[in-house]
């Protein structure tokens, strides 16, 4: 089913859709090319799949192309990804050569003559080496926290990225010093996606039945990869402290660690910390379990994202969109989504998380009001419609130049 702008109107209101259409009228027919590295899986492909038709409906002649690479190329760019996030990585000269070759091959194949080119993440970044007189403004969209990259890697990637006319980052904290405008665009969630759409009570009940989750007590939920930075063991300790005062269950949801040795270790630590407590449920769900996650977030009384280090952490907005007060670690993008004490609580310790769990479970009215404010904030700030408006304004800005105010 094709989703259109008007489908979002009941969700975000006519004013936001009017803004999109009004700005789009000034951008009719502008050719825009997005290039990323995968057509399926991952947050970037997920958002582009929905974003491209909406950009087109707004008037932009938007296209989306996917880089073609081999297994060696993707192994190298996986190292880039880790290295940009600060892990010490060594990439051999031959691998770097191959990376440049794959980009050169793709440059010959792709139509790089758009007015605005948005190149996502490091995999296709070297396409910039093949810009020609017919290609317009090149913008690099970095979806990663690259504030403290591996130095040898940045010595290679830095000059490539510096060749762009501008870049886009999710947070100011994630940026690197670069000689061009660095725009800030938060990522977004799609309220019509399976993971976020409204569910009927029977759909929620059916999922809880399937997952064999008793409804005798309210439950506290964390949905996250089993990764030490998400502190799932800390969540168990916090729940244990809180549940002495307010009886509740704990549901920890994450993926199966099929190709991640550290993930398997963390799952073992989580199971050890949970022991045989019947009130703790550790669920390993496949990446396709969007409906299940949606239902769990809607059924939860309180949602946690107790990360000690985080990228943007869009699972926070997912839960907030479902009207849940979220208790989040004060790190990364969580601090933008949770206005402390207003749309949720920011915490710095296990004790802090435990205290806030108790508060929210014992004051359902307060939790409800906080959840309503959380949903309103996501509607204004973290839905795909705001993201779309950012992209339209960006296209307008790069066409017009860099004034403080651009009045059309």
């Amino acid at each position: 089913m094709t989703i259109e702008l008007q489908d979002y109107e009941p969700i975000v209101g006519p004013s936001r859709i009017g803004e999109i259409r009004a700005l789009g009228r000034h951008l009719q027919g502008v050719r825009m090319l997005h290039v990323n590295s995968t057509a399926v899986g991952g947050g970037v492909a997920e958002i582009l799949r929905r974003m491209i038709p909406l950009l087109r409906e707004a008037g932009i002649d938007a296209r989306w192309e996917v880089l073609e690479g081999d297994a060696d190329f993707y192994r190298t760019t996986k190292s880039f990804h880790n290295g940009l996030q600060g892990l010490p990585v060594r990439v051999a000269d031959a691998e770097l050569e191959h990376y440049l070759e794959v980009n050169a091959r793709n440059a010959a194949r792709l139509p790089l003559d758009a007015e605005v080119l948005l190149i996502h993440d490091p995999q296709p970044a070297a396409l910039i080496h093949h810009r020609h007189e017919r290609s317009g403004t090149w913008i690099w969209r970095c979806h990663i926290d690259a504030a403290t990259p591996s130095r040898p890697l940045w010595r290679f990637l830095g000059p490539i990225v510096a060749g762009y006319d501008a870049s886009i980052w999710s947070m100011p904290q994630f940026t690197r010093p670069l000689p061009h405008h660095q725009f800030l665009v938060h990522p977004s969630i799609d309220p019509l996606a399976e993971k976020n759409r409204d569910l009927e009570p029977e759909e929620i009940e059916a999922v809880l039945d399937r997952l064999q989750l008793p409804r005798d007590l309210p439950f506290v939920l964390q949905v996250s990869r089993f990764d030490r930075f998400k502190d799932p063991v800390g969540v168990i300790h916090a729940w244990r402290l809180a549940s002495r005062y307010v009886p509740c269950r704990l549901v920890l949801v994450g993926g199966e660690a099929t190709d991640d040795p550290e993930g398997a270790e963390v799952i073992a630590e989580v199971r050890a910390a949970a022991g045989d407590d019947p009130l703790v449920h550790v669920l390993l769900l496949p990446p396709t379990a969007d409906l299940e996650i949606n239902a769990l977030q809607r059924a939860a009384a309180v949602v946690l994202q107790k990360s000690t280090r985080e990228g943007f952490g869009l699972t926070v907005s997912e839960a907030m969109w479902k009207g849940k007060p979220v208790i989040g670690g004060a790190t990364g993008g969580i601090t933008v989504q949770i206005l402390d004490g207003i749309t949720g609580f920011l915490v710095h310790s296990v004790d802090g998380a435990a205290y806030r769990i108790r508060q929210l479970l014992s004051q359902p009215d307060r939790a409800h009001k906080m959840g309503e404010r959380a949903r309103a904030l996501v509607r204004e700030r973290f839905l795909i419609t705001r993201h779309l408006l950012d992209y339209l304004a960006l296209v307008q800005a790069v066409r017009t130049g860099s004034d403080d105010v651009i009045a059309l």
Binding site: S15, R16, G18, E19, A22, L23, R25, H26, W169, P172, Q173, T175, R176, P177, H181, Q182, F183, L184, A330, T331, T335, L339, D340, I342, L346, H348, L377, E380, R381, L389, D390, L392, A393, L394, Q396, A397, S402, D403, D404, V405, I406, A407, L408
Partner: protein
């Protein structure tokens, strides 16, 4: 007499990183001396477009950060009472902010720090303003336009206009006075004490005055 229509614009701010942040009051002071005027203008004038504005006791981001980041209530109050619209010329803004922060720092026994995660990241922004297609040629038409205007539209015509127009006015009262000759109504709209109000509250206050005048 031909009345030029009031053209309702919408506006969307594109934020840009500067690569600079402050974790304590001394770093804020140094940055206030050194950053581009566009950075000062962003934090002083574009804060109403930030969701945190709705929950802030203060009208600009430096005061908000003093309270929420540095947790320094006295500094927050002093900065909060500073009205950047009083003289929006860039170097006057810088001088006024420096005066408050230097004075406070000299009187402090310690330098307040923000907790990790609560640093102030200096930014600048471009405001893209575009006609919505809605135009008004009389008071009821303007009232209807205002009542349905988005946050961006109210920001552009009411808040941003005060830094754009030579006179201390917003676009609504300027048009009401210039095109309709309704001086008292224009003065009443200009008197709205907006730094204390949410954008929606400003919209409702203007719409209320227009409704009463059109009745």
């Amino acid at each position: 007499m031909t009345v030029h229509p009031f053209v309702l614009y919408d506006a969307h701010a594109l934020r840009m990183a500067t690569g600079r942040n402050a974790a304590n009051l001394r770093e804020l002071l140094t940055a206030l001396r050194e950053v581009d005027a566009a950075v000062l203008r962003h934090h002083l004038f574009r804060f109403p477009l930030d969701p945190a504005y709705d929950f802030s006791a203060f009208g600009h981001e430096f005061a908000y950060w003093a309270e929420a980041g540095l947790q320094d209530a006295v500094l927050a109050e002093r900065l909060g009472n500073f009205d950047p619209y009083d003289n929006p010329e860039s170097e006057a803004l810088r001088a006024a902010l420096l005066e408050i922060v230097e004075d406070h720092l000299m009187a402090s026994h310690h330098v307040p720090w923000a907790r990790p995660g609560s640093e102030l990241y200096f930014q600048r922004s471009m405001l893209v303003a575009y006609p919505t297609g809605v135009e008004a040629t009389d008071l009821p038409g303007l009232r209807d336009a205002v009542a349905q205007a988005s946050r961006g539209a109210i920001y552009y015509h009411f808040f941003e206009a005060r830094t754009r127009l030579d006179v201390r006015s917003d676009d609504f009262s300027a048009w009401i006075e210039g095109s309709l000759g309704l001086h008292d109504l224009a003065a009443a709209i200009r008197r709205i004490d907006f730094p204390a109000l949410r954008i929606e509250d400003v919209r409702d206050a203007v719409a209320q005055l227009l409704t009463e005048a059109a009745a």
